[in-house]
């Protein structure tokens, strides 16, 4: 009781110190890990980081805003393909695909390509889902499932751009521990910062009781769309990071099973909680690897 009192009243003074100390320790830990871990464990650590990003993104919609989406695999795919097309070697693009010249020649720096990946995922999510926002309950779930199926279908069939079911390969190995955990930390900060302010309170309120939130002056359609946009942006970024880690991308990697795994991470750690998402991502990533030799 005392502790909570403290942190909400003097929230800005103490929180900052705590956070900085933890961040400092965390980055030192990362530095040690990145130099001492073998390739395999380093990789698992990276996957864990990507999973944290994906789970946190999904938490915004499926957790806080309570709009249950099954379509995040499709958004990852959108992000992954975007960054792949922007960064693949020109030679590969020229030989395998038939792209407009500007895209074929494009060699976008990593930072911009992941931002663009996020933006494309955001646009995809919005275009497909905007007409679906008035749907309720399982009708919405069905519509969101559509994102996945539509995106996979497009990736499999627009062969001049996506190279069909084989997908694209040869993405540069840009992803590293600093990118992933940098983005993860930023996302954690962003979610925390939003939740403790007007924007996040509105989204949380919609998730708890939409009618009441509206009575408090929250435009639920608008804020749901915002929530979905942030979520799909970071899902797209997660997909992009994944692509630059695995170095290849094909449609079949983003089926329902991926979404299911992320939902598992979300549920195991506890919905609507940042630390829960991290914990869930850690547990599922570890379980998936530990079960491997069986």
């Amino acid at each position: 009781m005392k502790l909570t009192e403290n942190h909400s009243d003097n929230f800005f003074k103490n929180r900052k110190k705590y956070t900085l100390v933890i961040l400092f320790i965390f980055f030192i830990l990362l530095f040690i890990l990145s130099n001492s871990l073998s390739g395999y464990y380093y990789r698992i650590l990276l996957l864990f980081g990507i999973n944290v990003i994906l789970t946190l993104s999904l938490n915004i919609t499926n957790g806080y805003a309570n709009i249950f989406s099954l379509g995040h695999g499709g958004l990852m795919l959108a992000g992954g393909y975007t960054t792949a097309l922007l960064t693949l070697p020109v030679e590969f693009k020229a030989n395998t695909l038939s792209l407009p010249l500007w895209l074929e020649q494009a060699q976008v720096p990593f930072i911009f390509s992941i931002i663009l990946a996020g933006i494309v995922a955001m646009i995809v999510g919005l275009t497909i889902l905007l007409p679906a926002f008035r749907l309720k309950g399982h009708y919405f779930i069905l519509a969101s499932l559509g994102i996945n199926i539509i995106m996979i279908n497009i990736a499999e069939n627009v062969r001049p751009i996506t190279n069909g079911a084989t997908g694209l390969r040869g993405a540069p190995p840009y992803t590293n521990i600093w990118w992933i955990f940098g983005i993860a930390i930023f996302l954690i900060y962003l979610i925390w910062t939003l939740l403790t302010a007007r924007f996040g309170r509105a989204i949380k309120a919609i998730g708890k009781d939409q009618g009441l939130a509206e009575a408090m002056g929250v435009n639920s359609a608008k804020y749901k769309a915002y929530a979905f946009m942030i979520s799909s942006f970071f899902t797209g970024v997660g997909g992009a990071l994944w692509t630059h880690l695995i170095l290849t991308i094909s449609p079949s990697s983003f089926d329902l099973l991926v979404v299911f795994q992320i939902i598992m991470m979300l549920v195991i750690g506890g919905v609507s909680s940042i630390s829960g998402s991290i914990l869930g991502a850690a547990i599922i990533t570890a379980i998936l690897e530990i079960l491997q030799p069986l």
């Binding site: 519509a143 279908n153 299911f260």
Partner: protein, 297 residues
Amino acid sequence: MDLTYIFQQVLNALSLGSMLALLAVGYTMIYGVLGLINFAHGEVFMIGAFTAMYAITGLGFPLPIALILAIIASVLAGVLLERFCYRPVQGSGDITLFITSLAASIGIRSLFVMLFGSRSMQFPMPKYLQGIRFWGDILITDLNLIIFVFTVIITLILSFFIKNTKLGIAMRGVSYNKQTAEAMGINSTSIIVATFVIGSALAAVAGVAWGLQYGNVRPAMGYHPGISGFIAAVLGGIGNISGAAISGFLLGVGQVLFVAFLPSVYSGFRPLFVWIVLFIILFYKPTGLFRSNIKWE
């Protein structure tokens, strides 16, 4: 594109439509009483097909007995699912129920892969079903007709049952308002079990029909029809049995007709078209083509 061709294509679609209709009815009934998308329904369907296959090839039973065994196996699977997967997590929220059903689906599929391998196995078709008849240039396989007629009969019996019997009325009551139904002296648990029994039996019939029609079974066979059944159930207005049956038919026929009338260059985009149509329908009718039987809060 002459009339014969169109008619032939519609005829072709009858059996696929029938199977999806049977699956969709199961989805919608279970959704009605439990508020749950039973993603494992596709696996119940697969279990039916596997049992029938094994009864025929392994034990040498004739098809009708194999069908009965398939129904028994599927019903058992459905009831066990209800008892050990869904009942324990009832009331713990949508997401948990959802995860449970997805996990059950993947679990059963993996179990069958472990037991039988992921390759497909032959589903033998008895000689008396192999007939083909011609009507002018239009070709009709006996099996296609039989599956269709069988489905229509089952659907009619089921609608009669749901409409007129005490149990059927109770099922509708439970799906409309479970708590009030309980306060009328209805044991909702047994109604839920009964619903699983009926839904799973229909899935078994669909599974056997699938095996006969396509000649093979495999552990992953339930995935695609399962999703189609789910779509049909939603499209038909969740909880609406005849709506589900009709939507199942429409979806099956639609899928075949997409192939039939789309230039084959575009046939890769079939799911895209299906989903666009679906989105359009949902945009204008946000609760499906037909009236939902669920009471919305």
